[in-house]
C-alpha cells in the first residue's frame, strides 16, 4: 500500500490515463447534451495522449516519429474534430431547436 502511494511509478500514470478515459466514456454514454458529449470525447483524447507519453517515456522512445510528435498531432486532430463537431451541433440546433441527442433518433428507421 505504501508502495503504491509513495512510490509513484509509470503504472500510476497509466492508471490515471485509464481512469480519465473511462470517465470520458461514461460521459459520452450517459449525457444527453451534445456539447457535453463532445467535451467528454476531448477528455478521452487527452487520456490517450497521456498514455502515449507515458509509454514513450518508459521505453525511451526516441526513434523516428516519437510519441510526443504523435501526441502533438493528436492534439491537432482533436482541435479539428472539435471544430467540425461544434459546427454540426450548431447546424442541428438550427434545425431542431434542441441539442438533446435522444431526440436525434432518425437512424432508427
Amino acid at each position: 500500500m505504501n508502495d503504491v502511494l509513495f512510490n509513484v511509478g509509470y503504472g500510476h500514470f497509466l492508471v490515471l490515463a485509464a481512469v480519465l478515459f473511462l470517465i470520458g466514456m461514461v460521459g459520452v454514454l450517459l449525457r444527453r447534451n451534445a456539447m457535453i458529449i463532445l467535451m467528454s470525447v476531448e477528455l478521452m483524447l487527452n487520456a490517450a495522449n497521456m498514455t502515449l507519453l507515458t509509454f514513450s517515456r518508459m521505453w525511451g522512445d526516441v526513434g523516428a516519429l516519437s510519441a510526443h510528435t504523435f501526441a502533438l498531432i493528436v492534439i491537432g486532430v482533436a482541435a479539428a474534430e472539435a471544430a467540425v463537431g461544434l459546427a454540426i451541433v450548431v447546424a442541428v440546433f438550427r434545425g431542431r431547436r434542441s441539442v438533446d441527442v435522444d431526440k436525434l433518433n432518425a437512424l432508427r428507421h
Binding site: 458529449i37 441527442v101 435522444d102 433518433n105 437512424l107 432508427r108
Partner: protein, 794 residues
C-alpha cells in the same frame, strides 16, 4: 389346355373369379346412379353368377384332369389330390429378399369355399333384387355387395398371407359399408363403426402373427410355411430368427397361431370380439345373410383350416382354439334364450355355431369344421332370408318394429312358403336326421370325443375331449331350444298384434332363393356321412368331403420327437352310432322343450319360470350378460378419458401453448431485444461498443496467469509453473529466474509448456525467485511469492 394355364386377357382364370365381381362393383359404384335399375341388377347378379360358373368350371374341370404325382409320372388321379394349382397375377412386392406375388391358389379347400361363396352369393343377390327394390341406394347396395364378394374370393383364393390380408381387410371394409348402409340413422352408422373397430383389433393380431411368421420363415407364401412345418426333421433352427434357437419350433408356431387366431376371433365373432355381430343386424337382411352367416364370418375358420399345418405343430394353440370356441358356443346360446328381436337371435345363433366350428378345428378335425361351415352357410342363409321375408311381410302389415317377435305369431297362415323353409332350416340347425346339420354337428361331436382319453394330443389333459363333448352337447341342446322357441313364437299360435294379421307372403324373387337354399340344407349333409365300417358298401361319394379335403389339410400332429400320430383315435362303429343317437336325442329334447313352453305362443309356465327360479338367468340373458356395458366401462371410458387427457396435455398445452404460442413468444422476445439495440440513439450503440470491448478484454484476460506450485522433496524445492488458460495465457512462455538477476533471458519454454526448476531449500531463503511471463499482453517478470513448504510432500 389345362386349368393351370387358363387365363383371359393376361389375367389368370383364378384371378378372374375374384375380379368379375370387383368389376361389377366398380361399374355399379361409379356409374350406378346413371344406369337403369335393370342394368344395375344385371351387372351385379351377372358378375357373381359368372364368377360362380367360372369357379365351377375350374373346380370340376380339374376333377377329370390327369395330374403329375409326386414321382413325376403321369397319374390318372384327379388333379385335386395333389397340391392344387397356383396362378400368379403379377409381381406385387419385391423388396430385397422379400417377395410377395399376387398369386391365387386353388386346391380342394379353397374349391369348397369358392363354390359356397359364389353359389350362396348369387342367390342372395337375387333375393336382394326383391328386398331392396324400393330402396333409393339400390346401385350403391349392389356395388358394395359385389365388392364384398370379390374381396371374399380374394381372401379364399389367396396363396400367401399378404394377399389373404387384402381380402381380409376388404371384407371388413365391406362389412362396415353394408352394416351402416342406411347411414342416416345414427344407430346403424355406429353399428357399422363398431364392427369395423372390433374387426380392426383382430386385424392387428393377424398382422402380429404374420410378422412372427415372416420373422421365422422369411417368406409368407403358404407353400413355404407349410414346407417348413412339414419338414422331415422338425428343424427348430429353421424357425428361429437368423437360424438361432431363440424360439423353438413349437413355441413360435403357437405364438403365430394364437395371434392369427385372435384375428379370426375378430372376423368370426368369437368370445372377446363377438360384440359387433348382434349390432350388425342393423344392416339389410340379405347382408346379414351373406356376410354374417355364410361368408365373412367363415373367413376365420377358413384361415385356421388353411393354416392347418401351422396349428398342427402346436397343440397349445389347438387347445386355445377349442376352449375359446366352446366358451363362445355356450355363452352365445345362453344369451339367445331371452332375445326378442328376430335377427338378434339368429345373430347369436351364428356366433354359437361358429364356436362349434372352432372347437372342431381346435381338435384337429378341420374337415368337420369345413363341413359344418358349408351346411351352416346354407341353413343360416336360409334362416336369415326367411327372417327378412318375415320382416318384409310385417312391414307391409304396418309394423314399425318388424323384427320384434312379441308382435308376431300365427304367421304360418299368412306366409306358408317362408314357414316351410324356415322350419326346414330349424330342423337342420337342431341336428335332426337327415337334415344337413345332423351330419355336420355329429362330425364335430365325434371329433371332440375322439380327442379324449387315449387319443388326446400331446399336452392335452385326457379328460378334455369329454369336456368339449359335454359342453358342445349342452350348446346343441340350447341351440335346438332357442331356435324352436323362435320358430314357435313367430309362426305358431295366434297373431299377437294387428300387423301380424295383415302380413302377407313375399314376392317370388325372394321366395325362390329361400327354396333353393332350403333344398340344399336338406341334401348337402350327405356329403359328409361318416365313414363307418358298416357303410362301406355305400359308394365313396358319401363321405366325399373328408376325402376331398384331405390333400389340403394336415392331418397329423407334428411332434418334436418325430412321431406322427393320427388326429385322435377314430371311435369304433358302436361308439359312433351311440354318439349319433345321443346327439339326435339332445336335439329332439330341445325341440320338445321349446314346444312345451312355446308351442302355441308363450305359455304361462314361461312367465312363472321367468318370474321365479330363472329370473336371474333370464335377466342376464336378456341383457346380453352386460358385455357391452362391461367393455364400455373398462375399455372405452378409460380410452376416451385418456384421449381427452392427451388432448388437453399434448394438444392444448404442449403443442398450442408451448410450441405454437411459445414460438411466437420467442420470436417477439428476440424482436424486442433487437429493437432495444436499434432505437436510433448513437449512445445506445456506444454502450454496445463498450460492452463488447469489455467482453473481448475479458476473454483474452481470463485465467491468464500461470499456476505456480512448489513442492519440497528431499530438501529440494521443486518449482512448477503451468501456463494459464485462455487465448493469451495458454500461449505464454515461462521461465523461472533466480538469484536476483533481473533478466528474463534464454531458456524460455515453448509457448504453452510448463516451466520447472529445482533448487535447494537453503537457496530459496534470501534469494529472489521470479517467474518470467512472456505472453501477448505482458512481458514482465512477476515476482512469485514462494511459500517454502515446511514438510515434505509425498
Amino acid at each position: 389346355m389345362d386349368p393351370q394355364t387358363l387365363s383371359f386377357l393376361g389375367l389368370p382364370a383364378l384371378a378372374w373369379i375374384a375380379v368379375l365381381p370387383l368389376c361389377g362393383a366398380t361399374i355399379n359404384l361409379l356409374l350406378g346412379k346413371r344406369l337403369s335399375k335393370s342394368t344395375v341388377t344385371f351387372i351385379a347378379v351377372g358378375t357373381v353368377a359368372a364368377a360362380c360358373v367360372l369357379s365351377g368350371v375350374m373346380v370340376f374341370w380339374g376333377l377329370f384332369q390327369h395330374g403329375v404325382d409326386a414321382t413325376g409320372n403321369m397319374s390318372p388321379k384327379a388333379l385335386w389330390e395333389g397340391e392344387g394349382i397356383t396362378q400368379v397375377a403379377w409381381k406385387w412386392i419385391e423388396v430385397g429378399s422379400f417377395k410377395a406375388d399376387l398369386a391365387f391358389h386353388l386346391d380342394s379347400l379353397s374349391a369348397v369355399m369358392i363354390l359356397i361363396i359364389t353359389f350362396v352369393g348369387t342367390w342372395i343377390h337375387i333375393y336382394s333384387v326383391g328386398y331392396m327394390a324400393q330402396d333409393k341406394g339400390y346401385s350403391r347396395y349392389f356395388g358394395y355387395l359385389n365388392l364384398f364378394t370379390g374381396a371374399m374370393l380374394i381372401l379364399v383364393l389367396a396363396a400367401s398371407l399378404p394377399v389373404m390380408f387384402i381380402g381380409w381387410e376388404g371384407v371388413g371394409l365391406c362389412s362396415f359399408l353394408l352394416i351402416g348402409f342406411w347411414y342416416e340413422n345414427d344407430a346403424y352408422a355406429y353399428a357399422g363403426r363398431k364392427a369395423f373397430v372390433v374387426n380392426r383389433i383382430g386385424d392387428f393380431a393377424f398382422l402380429l402373427g404374420t410378422f412372427l411368421l415372416f420373422w421365422a420363415v422369411k417368406s409368407l407364401d403358404f407353400q413355404d410355411i407349410k414346407s417348413l412345418a412339414n419338414g422331415a426333421k422338425y428343424a427348430t433352427t429353421a424357425w428361429g430368427p437368423n437360424g438361432s434357437q431363440v424360439w423353438g419350433h413349437e413355441r413360435l408356431a403357437a405364438a403365430a397361431g394364437i395371434c392369427l387366431f385372435i384375428g379370426a376371433c375378430g372376423k368370426s365373432a368369437q368370445l372377446p370380439l363377438y360384440i359387433w355381430l348382434p349390432d350388425a343386424m342393423a344392416g339389410p337382411t340379405p347382408v346379414s345373410a351373406l356376410i354374417h352367416a355364410a361368408t365373412m364370418v367363415t373367413a376365420g375358420i377358413y384361415m385356421v383350416c388353411r393354416l392347418s399345418f401351422l396349428y398342427s405343430v402346436s397343440t397349445t394353440a389347438m387347445i386355445v382354439i377349442s376352449t375359446v370356441g366352446l366358451l363362445t358356443a355356450l355363452v352365445a346360446a345362453f344369451i339367445a334364450f331371452a332375445q326378442t328381436d328376430l335377427k338378434k337371435v339368429l345373430a347369436y345363433s351364428t356366433v354359437s355355431q361358429l364356436g362349434f366350428m372352432f372347437v372342431a378345428a381346435g381338435t384337429g378335425h378341420y374337415a368337420a369344421a369345413v363341413f359344418h361351415l358349408g351346411t351352416h352357410a346354407f341353413f343360416k342363409a336360409c334362416l336369415f332370408l326367411g327372417a327378412g321375408s318375415v320382416m318384409h311381410g310385417m312391414e307391409h302389415g304396418g309394423s314399425k318394429t318388424p323384427g320384434d317377435i312379441t308382435t308376431m305369431g300365427g304367421l304360418k297362415k299368412h306366409m306358408p312358403v317362408t314357414r316351410a323353409t324356415f322350419m326346414i332350416s330349424c330342423l337342420a340347425i337342431a341336428g335332426i336326421f337327415p337334415f344337413a346339420g345332423f351330419f355336420s354337428k355329429d362330425a364335430i361331436l365325434g371329433g371332440a370325443w375322439s380327442v379324449a382319453g387315449a387319443g388326446a394330443p400331446p399336452g392335452w389333459p385326457p379328460f378334455y375331449g369329454y369336456l368339449l363333448w359335454g359342453g358342445l352337447l349342452v350348446a346343441a341342446l340350447g341351440t335346438a331350444f332357442y331356435m324352436w322357441r323362435l320358430y314357435f313364437l313367430v309362426f305358431s299360435g295366434n297373431e299377437r298384434s294387428e300387423e301380424a294379421k295383415h302380413a302377407h307372403e313375399s314376392p317370388p324373387s325372394m321366395l325362390s332363393a329361400l327354396v333353393v337354399l332350403a333344398f340344399f340344407a336338406v341334401v348337402i349333409g350327405f356329403l359328409g356321412v361318416p365313414e363307418l365300417e358298416a357303410l362301406h358298401k355305400i359308394p365313396h361319394a358319401f363321405h366325399a368331403l373328408e376325402t376331398w379335403l384331405a390333400p389340403s389339410i394336415t392331418h397329423v400332429w407334428w411332434v418334436d420327437a418325430g412321431i406322427k400320430p393320427e388326429m385322435g383315435h377314430e371311435p369304433s362303429d358302436v361308439v359312433s352310432i351311440v354318439l349319433m343317437v345321443v346327439a339326435l336325442g339332445i336335439g329332439s329334447l330341445g325341440i320338445g322343450l321349446a314346444w312345451m313352453l312355446y308351442g302355441r305362443g308363450p305359455s304361462p309356465t314361461v312367465a312363472k319360470l321367468v318370474e321365479g327360479p330363472l329370473h336371474g338367468a333370464w335377466v342376464a340373458s336378456k341383457n346380453k350378460l352386460w358385455v357391452d356395458e362391461f367393455y364400455d366401462a373398462t375399455i372405452i371410458r378409460p380410452f376416451k378419458a385418456a384421449c381427452k387427457g392427451l388432448f388437453e396435455i399434448v394438444d392444448r398445452f404442449v403443442i398450442d401453448t408451448i410450441a405454437v404460442n411459445g414460438a411466437a413468444f420467442v420470436v417477439s422476445l428476440f424482436g424486442r431485444l433487437a429493437r432495444w439495440f436499434q432505437n436510433g440513439q448513437v449512445q445506445r450503440y456506444l454502450v454496445g461498443v463498450v460492452v463488447g470491448a469489455a467482453a473481448v478484454f475479458f476473454v483474452t484476460d481470463c485465467h491468464r496467469h500461470p499456476a505456480v506450485t512448489v513442492t519440497l522433496k528431499n530438501d529440494q524445492l521443486h518449482l512448477h509453473a503451468e501456463p494459464g488458460a485462455g487465448i493469451v495465457g495458454s500461449n505464454a512462455k515461462l521461465h523461472w529466474h533466480l538469484d536476483g538477476v533481473p533478466a528474463c533471458d534464454g531458456d524460455k519454454t515453448l509457448p504453452g509448456e510448463p516451466a520447472d526448476r529445482d533448487i535447494r531449500r537453503g537457496d530459496a531463503t534470501g534469494s529472489s525467485i521470479a517467474l518470467c511471463i512472456d505472453d501477448a499482453i505482458s512481458h514482465t517478470m512477476t515476482p512469485v511469492t514462494v511459500r517454502v513448504p515446511t514438510e515434505e510432500t509425498p
